[in-house]
Symmetry: C2
Subunit: 403 residues, 2 copies
């Protein structure tokens, strides 16, 4: 089950094409498949009834061994279909609690995990009441949704009024899922934990700290680094991750969980049952020799992912090279980054002539560099060295230029 706007890494597609593969996807999907791959289009991957009907046309021709949903969008629908048709793998209950932010919060609460309180509301108009109970500012997000799409911080009644009327929030107002309202908490630092769970046991989990909290992250501090083995924060985060995996009753899957250090202590953020985005999977591969996308794929296929992490000294930083809006006129050569001390790998994905649009999100970067440091005290220096070594020059876009 596939989503129009997402594409799968090439090795994943190659792995899938070794099997008798039928793709259920939305119209206009970007992925290219080998000749002969059966593709069934449905209006939306979230339309449970349409997805069930599409799957039935496959089932009528023979048994379906496994149902894959490589992305978070579609996870609960895939779980529903597995439960309904007795297909092995993650059922609806687990799939839902990993994608439904309200169900997740309820599970956290029941298990006693520290987490920001959440109110559920079913209309943009209901946000005001929730905010008054929680106190402004608040964060508002769809109960179901991918990434940080349609997540907004509201400082008070005025910003709520804007959300309910301004043209730029039309996609938010068109949401057809309930909304979750949470108090905005002061984030001193933000962390993530990435894990692999097999048969209920955590066979891999590593904690990382973001260079800066993600919300309004400055472009030159975009990345994260693994916490060293002895870091006490690492132990706390691994414990919370283990408790979340147990609270959400995950038997088999790949996890990506967020954490916030606040003045009141560490809070458990959302946990997803999928590989992290950005350069994190690559960082895990460099640092621990674990291919998290391959693990995700093999788990969904019912194959043994045979995860054997390599313990390494120190910690690896993944650093997203910054961008500037405009047409690129000059760019550091990748070789100039690769030769910096302790750089493990570097990749530049932009080139002179490319146009960077004026509004880009935090995962937009010129490339990525992986650098090894002894411990967290070495991170700032390493990042500064990379930031200094990398330069990007842009010319402003004329108003007629097309990005």
């Amino acid at each position: 089950m596939h989503v129009a706007k997402n594409t799968l890494p090439t090795p994943v597609i190659a792995h899938l094409e070794q099997h008798d593969l039928t793709v259920i996807t939305e119209p206009g999907h970007l992925q290219m498949y080998a000749a002969g791959t059966k593709v069934i289009e449905i209006p939306s991957i979230r339309d449970v009834t349409a997805a069930a009907a599409a799957l039935r046309t496959v089932l009528c021709k023979g048994p379906v061994d496994r149902l894959l949903h490589p992305f978070e969008l579609g996870q609960s629908v895939a779980g529903y279909l597995r439960s309904l048709y007795g297909i092995p793998g993650m059922g609806f209950q687990t799939a839902n609690v990993f994608t439904n932010k309200f169900a997740m919060k309820e599970a956290y609460k029941k298990a006693g995990l520290p987490s920001a309180p959440a109110h559920i509301t079913y209309s943009p108009e209901g946000i005001g009441a929730a905010a008054q109970t929680l106190g402004w500012p608040v964060i508002v997000k769809p109960m179901l949704g991918g990434g940080s799409m349609d997540v907004h911080r509201l400082d008070g009644p005025e910003s709520l009024r804007e959300l309910l009327t301004a043209p730029e929030y039309e996609s938010f107002r068109a949401l057809t899922v309930p909304l979750v309202v949470e108090p905005f908490v002061e984030v001193l630092a933000e962390f993530h934990c990435d894990g692999i769970v097999i048969d209920g046991a955590i066979v891999f989990a590593e904690a990382s700290e973001y260079l800066a909290p993600l919300l309004d992250c400055p472009p030159e501090f975009n990345g994260s680094f693994f916490l060293a083995a002895g870091d006490p924060l690492r132990a706390s985060i691994l414990t919370l991750h283990r408790e979340a995996v147990r609270a959400l009753d995950l038997r088999d899957g790949v996890t990506h969980m967020e954490f916030f250090r606040t003045p009141g202590g560490i809070l458990a953020g959302e946990i997803a049952c999928r590989p992290a985005g950005g350069a994190i999977p690559e960082a895990i591969e460099h640092a621990y020799g674990v291919d998290i996308w391959d693990a995700q794929l093999r788990i969904m296929l019912g194959e043994d992912p045979s995860v054997h992490p390599i313990r390494t000294e120190g910690c690896l930083v993944n650093y997203h090279l910054p961008v500037s809006p405009g047409r690129i006129t000059g760019l550091t050569a990748v070789e100039d980054l690769q030769c910096i001390d302790n750089v493990v790998a570097a990749r530049i994905t932009k080139k002179v002539g490319d146009v960077i649009p004026p509004n880009y999100n935090s995962s937009y970067a010129s490339g990525v560099v992986f650098v090894h440091v002894d411990d967290r005290s070495g991170v700032d220096d390493a990042v500064r060295r990379l930031a200094d070594a990398f330069s990007i020059e842009v010319e402003p876009l004329s108003s007629t230029a097309k990005p």
Copy 2:
């Protein structure tokens, strides 16, 4: 959530109308509600996407405290919607395993309950292969469905061919759900167990034996009787019922489970999470002072059903008075049945002039009589006395008569 062709008992409707009630139902529903009850029609109660959209229009106006699905059809959709929108009550996982015959069998198998093996197939054409593995004759039924609709016994390839071609099986061929194929087992006797589960504990459960196995039950042996307290079969059935409730992880609900005594021992049949049909709920009320419909309703509403069964000596028989196809010209008066020794209650629901259609199903009856006996040795006599005391005379229908 309501189904077009079903109507609810009047006290249930009266109870519901004390609340702020919105009904989601199929077009052409038969139920009458008080003025002012909001009714939303969707094409089919099984259309998950349409049901979710209908519920959202309710949720946008305010919180929904409880979601009721009084009938088995719609149970898994209601569970799905509860899980999705964080509405308390039975979630999808449990709702599915109680309505999805394949998921149920898998749960039985995992828990070690004795049950007929089941094959799943996705097309009428796949039945043949399953039957060859299991050996003819087989029983074929939709994986999801209410009552005994579209359940067929196939004796061999010839009856399969008929099922796949004859006009009377068109509804079966139009099924859009997978099919479950089971071996036909010789049934020496058939039983049911009706229970109430609160917070995981069985607060009421009683075992009954059908006067005759239900499949092709002769009209004069339609009914069942509670097994007396000391009957060893009662203990076996209550144990299997308890194991099934645990295997399917039911926290709160009303159950109706079937059992078959076969040459190989007692097999667990299907378990449903709803009150039994026919006169069984009334029999439970007469014998144990337990209102099973009220319990179901209160559990769904999150109220305390406060079940306090009265232990009674002996056992109660519920007996369905037979019918004959034709126009009724004569019928025993109910008073003549009420005055028979040990009759607890009697009701006749047909009258002279009523037309009984030529094809009626096993739940079709002229009325019901409840009679008390000391133990199972008294059942045959009691039934014979009732059968002798009741007479129905019919005249054949002319071909132009309309039932």
